[in-house]
């Protein structure tokens, strides 16, 4: 085993240790935010693969998340709960009595989202830039409208309430292992993918499509591949989000949700896994921390009435500042690597050794 693999394993074990400590010390509100961080890490990475590494400007993430969330919800809920939810119009018979365990439902959520990725990707990936953005945005809106109108499958605008907890033992303390477990798997998956030959081909497409094609890279095949992988993880992220919230309805998967993820990816650095992870955690925590802005504010004796959504102004302004003055985001296209750390360490220790010698 190489030194780097060892370091990776050690840091994964350290992560698990930290999660264990956090899980037993934090209150339920903080834990919920921590779970949300994990989910946003998954979502940001999946969007970063499509937008950052292959350079396809896709805005359809909320659509894939909706597919994932509804799939997992309908597959895990017990038949009685479904009956209670679908009081306007009964649920279709082939879904009424299905109840699968959580991991299988989660996987199915990814698979169905990936399937939608193939269906939507095949026609729209022939488009470029703004046209692709508009087409994918349209797709995610179409999904939302469809889900609002398929009353007997998705319960329409009423949404679905009472989704089971994340996990197989039906305990709240279990959630963190699923959200961060999947997040860590996603990080490792993306890192291995990007550092392989296919990852290089993806980056080549981002840099120059014409040259990439002249180097024998099948543009359509590789774009579709990345798009489908991205939608798979988006589906899983959406499913986890649904179970964490406990309630889902079509309105939840509006464009604003995609916007949040795009925001994370841009702030973190388009084309950096490390950047996406850091930024997902920071933005998720900041979104909660800035909730004070939504409430009433007292300046001296004057009270400003709270307007819900004020905190989003901060993020929008931040996004504009980043785009105008600091387009690279937190990490640019750089990554955290062990090589980098080892080199740093050498630089620091070398002068020390010299001093010792002299």
């Amino acid at each position: 085993m190489s030194k780097k693999t060892k370091l990776t394993l050690i840091s994964i074990i350290a992560c698990i240790g930290i999660l264990f400590i956090l899980n037993s010390t934090l209150g339920s509100y903080q834990l919920r935010i921590l779970n949300l961080c994990g989910i946003y890490v998954i979502l940001a990475l999946s969007l970063n693969l499509i937008n950052g590494f292959v350079g396809l400007f896709s805005l359809g993430h909320a659509g894939f998340m909706a597919i994932g969330a509804y799939t997992s919800a309908l597959l895990t809920m017990p038949p009685e709960a479904k009956e209670m939810n679908f009081f306007l119009k009964p649920i279709v018979p082939w879904l009424a009595n299905v109840q699968l365990s959580f991991p299988i439902a989660l996987f199915m959520a990814g698979v169905l989202a990936a399937g939608a990725g193939v269906l939507i990707g095949a026609p729209v990936l022939r488009l470029k830039d703004d046209y692709l953005a508009i087409a994918t945005l349209g797709f995610s809106e179409i999904i939302r409208v469809i889900f609002t109108n398929t009353q007997s499958i998705t319960n329409g605008a009423l949404g679905i309430k009472g989704l089971p907890y994340i996990g197989i033992f039906n305990k709240a303390s279990e959630a963190i292992w699923w959200t961060w477990g999947v997040a860590i798997i996603t990080i490792i998956f993306m890192a291995l993918l990007i550092n392989g030959s296919y990852g290089r081909a993806f980056k080549a497409i981002r840099e120059d499509e014409i040259a990439a094609e002249a180097m024998g890279i099948n543009l359509f095949k590789h774009k579709l591949m990345a798009f489908v992988i991205g939608s798979f993880f988006a589906g899983i992220g959406g499913a986890l989000l649904g179970h964490l919230m406990g309630t889902i309805d079509p309105l939840m998967f509006r464009f604003l949700l995609t916007f949040n993820i795009v925001l994370i990816v841009v702030l973190g650095g388009i084309g950096s896994i490390t950047g996406s992870v850091i930024s997902a955690v920071i933005v998720t925590i900041a979104m909660e921390a800035l909730r004070v802005l939504d409430g009433d504010m007292q300046i001296g004796s004057y009270i400003i009435k709270g307007i819900p959504g004020t905190r989003m102004v901060v993020f929008s302004a931040l996004l504009m500042i980043v785009i105008i003055f600091y387009q690279r985001g937190i990490m640019g296209t750089n990554e955290f690597t062990w090589d980098w750390i080892l080199k740093r360490q050498k630089k620091i220790s070398e002068p020390l050794n010299k001093e010792k010698v002299s």
């Binding site: 998956f189 291995l192 993918l193 392989g196 030959s197 296919y198 990852g199 290089r200 081909a201 980056k203 080549a204 840099e207 120059d208 014409i210 040259a211 990439a212 094609e213 002249a214 180097m215 024998g216 890279i217 099948n218 543009l219 591949m225 296209t333």
Partner: protein
């Protein structure tokens, strides 16, 4: 057997005929030039051969196989590699990555084995890494392998582009103005370099060039295009003394 043959290829963009009934034949291991005044249709010709455009009429044969209308990446796979008139490197990526990417098509590993890094994939990856490094050594860029490719000086970017094209294991190498922007010293080196890679990699080379010294110095046969029509072909000597060519280049009263 001719390695590349075009049979009356014509390219029309709306009402404009960019190339008209162009016939050409290249034998294995030849170095062939394509010259002509600006706007004569030279690059259009290259784009038809490499599949960027599908000829409006006519057929293109590569090793006796009809490749008319094939996709660019398919044509590259068959063994035609190219460089671009206005250098198209993967700018943000390292010099080595640029060359490694060109090996992707022939790697023969699927997505899954590249992610879990199977022993087979590792072996292939190691092999292409060695091959790419040796190509970079051949073009004299080995010690710059970790630099960002856009940070290289112009002449080196051109050489990197050729190294990248060579990494696709081509039989026919198409160079679009390889000497553009080079000083006399650099273009002399380029001529030696072109002959050298032809012998070393058993290549056939087809190039567009405005730099007459280079064309006349390195090419064995030359085709001349003017307003999309072939006006002459022959050895450098014949071309230099061809009246039509002189007319096209210098104009006539």
């Amino acid at each position: 057997m001719a390695i590349l043959k075009t049979d009356k290829i014509t390219m029309k963009f709306g009402g404009l005929t960019a190339v008209s009934e162009f016939d050409m034949k290249i034998e294995k291991n030849e170095i062939i030039g394509l010259i002509g005044p600006n706007g004569a249709g030279k690059t259009t010709c290259f784009n038809m051969i490499t599949g960027v455009y599908t000829p409006t009429e006519g057929k293109i044969y590569f090793e006796d196989k009809d490749i008319t209308g094939e996709k660019t990446h398919e044509i590259t796979k068959l063994g035609i590699a190219r460089t671009f008139q206005n250098i198209r490197l993967f700018k943000e990526l390292s010099v080595l990555d640029n060359v490694l990417i060109a090996n992707h098509m022939r790697l023969g590993s699927n997505l899954f084995s590249s992610i879990i890094k199977t022993p087979d994939y590792r072996k292939k990856e190691k092999k292409i890494r060695e091959k790419s490094l040796s190509l970079l050594r051949d073009v004299g860029l080995e010690d710059l392998k970790d630099e960002k490719s856009s940070s290289l000086p112009y002449g080196k970017q051109r050489r990197l582009e050729i190294a990248r094209a060579l990494a696709t294991d081509p039989k026919l190498l198409i160079l679009d103005e390889p000497a553009a922007g080079m000083n006399p010293q650099e273009s002399n080196e380029l001529m030696d370099f072109i002959r050298d890679i032809r012998d070393r990699f058993d290549l056939t080379i087809f190039l567009i060039e405005h730099h007459m010294q280079v064309v006349m110095g390195v090419c064995e046969r030359i085709y001349v295009l003017d307003h999309g029509v072939k006006i002459a072909d022959g050895t450098p000597n014949e071309i230099q003394n061809n009246e039509k060519v002189i007319e096209a280049y210098l104009g006539v009263d």
